[in-house]
Point group: D3
């Protein structure tokens, strides 16, 4: 990725309430990570640019993200993105619903599920197991004070292990952080995300 | 529209928890209205089929809808759909967010605004006047008991008349009904809505 | 009804934040409907005068009202008014609690039940079946996003059909609209309603 | 009052989830207080019979009540009852809304104000000063954690002293207790209360 | 206690938004009660000084307190203080959490339980029976409108009698009053309370 | 630290719903971090042992923590801990309130402030600037969807820069994650924390 392409993304509209550094002013590792994602996705998701304002937090944020979203798990990658989209919808996070909605559509090869889960997972076309997974995730997101043994039992009844429960809860917890950061700094999603993954099945 | 095209829409997945009548079993006026919308839209939005289960309520519902959404008003049609999408988002109504999100994209010629307004109108790329309009609409939707003179004054400060205020509040009120009906009967939006109006500008 | 009698009602205190048309300035059908109710009730309930400000919405509103409240149903008229009063109480709607409380007292021939149901249906002297009906109605009124199969099952356990469930939910949904309109325009109930139906049994 | 008249009141329907003692089994001072109120009101309000189950709490309850409701104050007795009715409405307390609604109607010589204030004080026909008084009372009732200097300043702007503020807040606090006790023990109001004070002006 | 010691307590920082009377200006019985508690505790808890501003309310308040907290009961004194601390925590009452937290630590001979119960009783090291007791108390504190037979049944399943249920609910109700008074008048706890009962076991 | 001392801490009561690894089974860097904190604090805070169950998440968690809590900032370390304690109190997080309450007492050299801020920061003995800081933090914690320009303006009025605002918001966001993890896995604070920093000034 050249400097100009990052500039092109970041100058269209303000993507953050805070200054967004130029690629060449970023620490090498931060810049490398951004160039890697740009190559893979074809564009730089704005969260990378916005958080680069604080390199140490950038590093910790993506390390945490990867630890949860890339690890071996009883949950598929699409299911993990479902958790992101459902809890971000509950937190009214513009960036996370749009960006992770796109990723969910791509992973699930399903152009409809992201909107459904973001609006109301109870009315979505998902399996009862996925419904239980999202019920648990939303309880962690919205009322973690009340999470207890009956909630773990409800997951086990659908075949989830306690390690799966950690995954579900930890993803909900990490995006509790992420949603608040995005709302704090008025992070705007790239336009690319709105359409991504929508045309696969709808044709 | 032929009988088979309506059947094609309605058999794919259940669009309502209640029976959906066949076109030829509907009263003539209900059927005529459906054939008219089918011709205009190219498909029959499921709300017409689902509510046809109760013709009297069907007639009153669409009469009310038209009285608010088609009348001469200080609000553009796109602004009226913004109110629908924002309040339906607050009520977590799957059908209304998806279907009216599509209509909003088409009216506004803007592929992004519907998702933005559905998720969090405070972070959407709209004008301060539209922000005030949606603040008022959401107060009617969520806390109408507290609506009073200061809310009308806030609208007037943005150039809205009291008749505009009635329009804003009445649309929020009508979709308070509509959202509850859709959630009650598990109304599903047509797949067509998910993509409608998304490709105009994004290309 | 003569013009002067309507004037007598509407000039005492403002019954709406918006202008109330004179009877002779209303469209013929709107005026006819008002004269009919005046003859039957002995006075014109203010909702008719306040909504006459917008004849098209007036027509749709009362068509919807009649479609739900006058149809053949597994619910008695008193039970339907109970739903109105309980959900209007939950929405803190001054007009609807007072006016429909009166109608409920008359239909139920019970001077106490309206206040009980408006304040807290869980503590009211009603049957377990009516309690289940109001639990369902209040869930539609306050949390329709969560309505699902277990709620329908709870109604069936008390002998309600799914058509009864539609009636219950649709009445709650219609008064979600009605309560918001009344709160929006500061609709005031006629003084007559406060006392109506209170003296039957209490003497 | 004779024993039989108290029995007549208490046997009609259960007025409490707990046993109600017979007059002759009550301690002399409790019985004396009840006979006094019976003579004055013409009947025994059920709160006296229900709380007599625990004489020590009975004594403290009515001592507290009298300390607040009978003291010299910048608030009229009708205004104090307004606070009771508004906060009891917010707490959905069947007994307190019905019983104190009656007392408010009598003190205010106004058959309408109690229902208005119980349902939604923001829409009631009261003075701006009374509106400010009830705003303060409801904040103490519902969100006392947030009460602070700006709330006292708002009262002072309407001519209330800080001693008046104590009265308003303490009445709201006392009925926070009273509402919870009534809801706990399913206390039922006497039928007499429903009609009391309603016919004065309405005729 | 001498006059100067009370002065020492009351002058350090304002313990109430309202004037605090000097000991020698208080009615004899109020003063006697304060001197008694000072002798027993070694200091005068600020609630006694702050409420002495209104002697009649002072008397009723402490009579009510004693009626509930000192009576023979199926609940230990430590359990009763647990109810105070848990419900005061839910109401964010600075004075009550700190002062009654200290008393709970002393009665329970447990330096940890007060903080646990104040923050989140669901995560506290208490018995299932105590958990059920606090669940009931918090429902009375936060949603008494919904308290009903299932809640009493849940208590009975843990061996509580209905008289115990009254105790639990009445303590929650009394501190609903107390928390609101403390928040209203900005009552500050004595510094002594913060450390009291913390060193017993922790050493 | 020897193996036995860590064992001593972890065997007393379960500190987590999940398995806690033995020191010698942890990756070297995780173990080194724990030994470092043990040396500094005199004991191992349970969060280190509980999160060591997932080394990658452990690393990201503490990297994020350090990035926020140790960086150069316009906020003192005590002020940052205030934010932790206030938002953790709002989320009812047992571990975070107790553990960070201790750290706050130590940093602020104030044995009272932690309890005050955890219970109700509006009633705490803090400066108006700190009150504004905590108002902002709690809005990020509880309603980040509504955070906007007026909130930043309120901070600036107290001399906070926008970088300070990021610090405040990011700490609230990070502990939104932390509180949910602690509630998810039932993390228990070490007994040492309850007393830490309490005796400095109180003697």
């Amino acid at each position: 990725m050249t400097r100009s392409s990052a500039a092109a993304v970041s100058t269209a509209t303000p993507i953050s309430r805070y200054p967004v550094p130029r690629l060449e002013d970023m620490p090498a590792d931060v810049r490398a990570r951004i160039e890697e994602v740009a190559q893979k996705a074809g564009f730089v998701p704005n969260v990378f640019l916005a958080l680069a304002h604080r390199p140490d937090e950038f590093r910790a944020f993506f390390a945490y993200h990867d630890a949860l979203m890339l690890r071996e798990s009883g949950l598929t990658k699409a299911e993990r993105e479902m958790i992101v989209v459902a809890t971000s919808g509950a937190n009214d996070c513009h960036y996370c619903v749009v960006a992770h909605g796109a990723i969910l559509r791509v992973y699930a090869k399903n152009p409809l599920v992201a909107d459904q889960v973001a609006i109301n997972h109870r009315k979505a076309d998902i399996t009862p197991r996925q419904r239980a997974m999202l019920d648990f995730a939303l309880k962690v997101a919205l009322a973690s004070r009340e999470v207890g043994e009956p909630d773990f039992a409800a997951l086990r009844a659908h075949g989830f292990t306690d390690e799966d429960a950690w995954d579900i809860g930890a993803i909900a917890a990490f995006f509790a952080l992420s949603n608040r950061m995005a709302n704090l700094i008025d992070m705007k999603p790239n336009e690319e995300f709105y359409l991504l993954g929508r045309v696969a099945r709808a044709r």
